[in-house]
Amino acid sequence: MGIGIRIENLRKVYDTPPPIAARSGGFSFTPVRSKSTGDKKSKEKKKFEVVALDGISLEIRPGEVFGLLGPNGAGKSTTIGILTTRTRPTSGRAFIGEFDVWQEQVKAKLLIGVVPQRPNLDFALTAREILLFHGAYFGQSSRERTRRADEMIEKFKLTDRADHMVRTFSGGMMQRLSIARAMMHDPEVLFLDEPSAGLDPQTRLLLWEIIRDYHRLGKTIVLTTHYMDEADALCERLAIIDHGKIIAQGTPQELKSSIPGGYLLRLRFDRAPEELLAQLRTLPGVSEVRGTDHVATDVYADRGGTLISGIVSSAQAAGVELRDVHISEPSLETLFLHHTGRSLRD
């Protein structure tokens, strides 16, 4: 029987640059500033404020594969950070099973395994030692952790390099080892923060297979991604996050069917006057027409290519030139576009 997750009205405001920003800067220096009120500089410093999460509530059921989908900086990693005790929420609560993550940290930690966005392997150890020590941190007996480490090394195809220092590993190998380490203590809940970033297609498929296998054992899996196909292929339910808010939630199927019409035709004209938009709305199967600026127009409809002739004749009738057409089939990408008005990779 699996473990569920509950998030209640979670808010996170960073008043210093979040670690991600510090990380990409290459080094981090915690400013040691006096809190004296007369100090102008420290007052200015205080104004730094980034709202990473803006009141998120979620319920993840025991044993489900749940996906958090959103562009970079949407708040996915912060959500994972709070659920894994690495980020302190400004307000709101988060539960792993029955344990409040911030009240009963140790009990929560025992239930979770975490694959970070970037491999954070212990560079002072070999691959096998990383697994063995990880098992020891979680109280596994010597025999148990040896057996389990062998199993993991085999499963993640690391046998050749098991006794090498990990600083010599390639990115893909590090990623595989990170996942092996997260699974080492057989956690009830597995968090994967953008697990396939930087993986080659083959390893990505191996990873998907491993996630599905782990799911079959009744474990809860939470993953963040900005790959639509990954969310589609793996997740039973999804939440789409943007600017720290959940903008849509449901099964991939539900979400896709919530897009009016399903198909999205992105059109560009030399100009898009209001009478043209009105004309487009009358075409068969069209459910919504949005003029995003004076030239681009999004048409949501239940059909794709068959609409083109109608669009062309409407344009000609209005004396407007059609310059570009792009047809998107029903997908999470079009869903995202529908909700936010921008593409996922923007």
Binding site: F29, T87, V106, I112, N120, L121, A124, F133, Y137, G139
Partner: protein, 256 residues
């Protein structure tokens, strides 16, 4: 408190230290040996220093090497593990409250400081040659002073390691460690500063002063030194402050 996890973390640090045994030993021994040889042997044999200086110098050398090895053992790994690779993250996720990881780092650092102190005593004694009279008549006081010195260096390492980034390591050595060594009464007893009154009281803020004077008081009590009880009291206070600052910094750095 999860002792199994604590012990596993400690054995991880032990394992890494054993793997780096030779470089660590060289790092801990070479500098004190050179210092002992030049100051304790060359300068005294040539008559530029009195023979009695050997007794002043030896406890100072032990104090420096204990302090530096503890600071080094805790601060350097922390600085690199908190960098962009966030190597420390896997241990922060171990089933234990976050601050216990800092405590574990301090314990590991204390062990390294004690080991290097214990290794330096006989080696320096050999290098410095004849004319040194060490007394071990106060084993309990000696042990207490050693433990407090080890704690000061490890807790200091924690505070430093959580306060600076990789690019400031050089600065840390020239701005913190070097003045601490030279104004740490390692090369001269505290009473020798009598003609620099302001400095004599200013250096009392430097924990290494108590390390050197405490070791002097327990190993070569015939040399003038600050009373042992005052040393112990001051070290207890300074250890407490450094540990509190270090834990606070660690928590701030560990959780965003």
């Amino acid at each position: 408190m999860n002792w199994k996890t604590f012990y596993a973390l400690l054995s991880r640090d032990g394992h890494v230290a054993r793997r780096n045994l030779v470089p660590t030993l060289v790092q801990n021994l070479l500098q004190p040996m050179l210092l002992t040889f030049v100051f304790g042997r060359v300068l005294t044999a040539s008559g530029m220093m009195q023979m009695g200086y050997k007794n002043v110098l030896l406890p100072g050398i032990i104090s420096i090497s204990m302090s530096l090895s503890g600071i080094w053992a805790v601060a350097m790994p922390l600085i690199s593990e908190f960098q962009f690779t966030r190597e420390i993250e896997d241990r922060l996720l171990a089933p234990m409250e976050t601050h216990w990881l800092a405590v574990e780092k301090v314990v590991a650092g204390m062990i390294q400081a004690l080991v290097s102190g214990l290794v330096v005593i006989p080696t320096a004694w050999l290098v410095v040659g004849s004319g040194v009279s060490l007394s071990f008549h106060q084993p309990l006081q000696f042990a207490v002073v050693c433990l407090l010195v080890a704690l000061f260096s490890a807790a200091g390492g924690l505070a430093l390691g959580c306060s600076i980034g990789q690019t400031q390591i050089g600065l840390m050595f020239s701005m913190v460690v070097a003045p601490m060594m030279f104004f740490g009464c390692a090369y001269y007893p505290w009473s020798a500063l009598a003609s620099f009154k302001a400095l004599q009281y200013a250096v009392l803020l430097n924990p290494m002063v108590y390390a050197s004077e405490g070791l002097r008081g327990t190993l070569v009590p015939q040399v003038p030194h600050i009373p042992i009880l005052a040393v112990i009291g001051a070290l207890v206070v300074m250890d407490g402050v450094l540990l509190a600052v270090g834990l606070n910094r660690f928590n701030r750095k560990a959780v965003s």
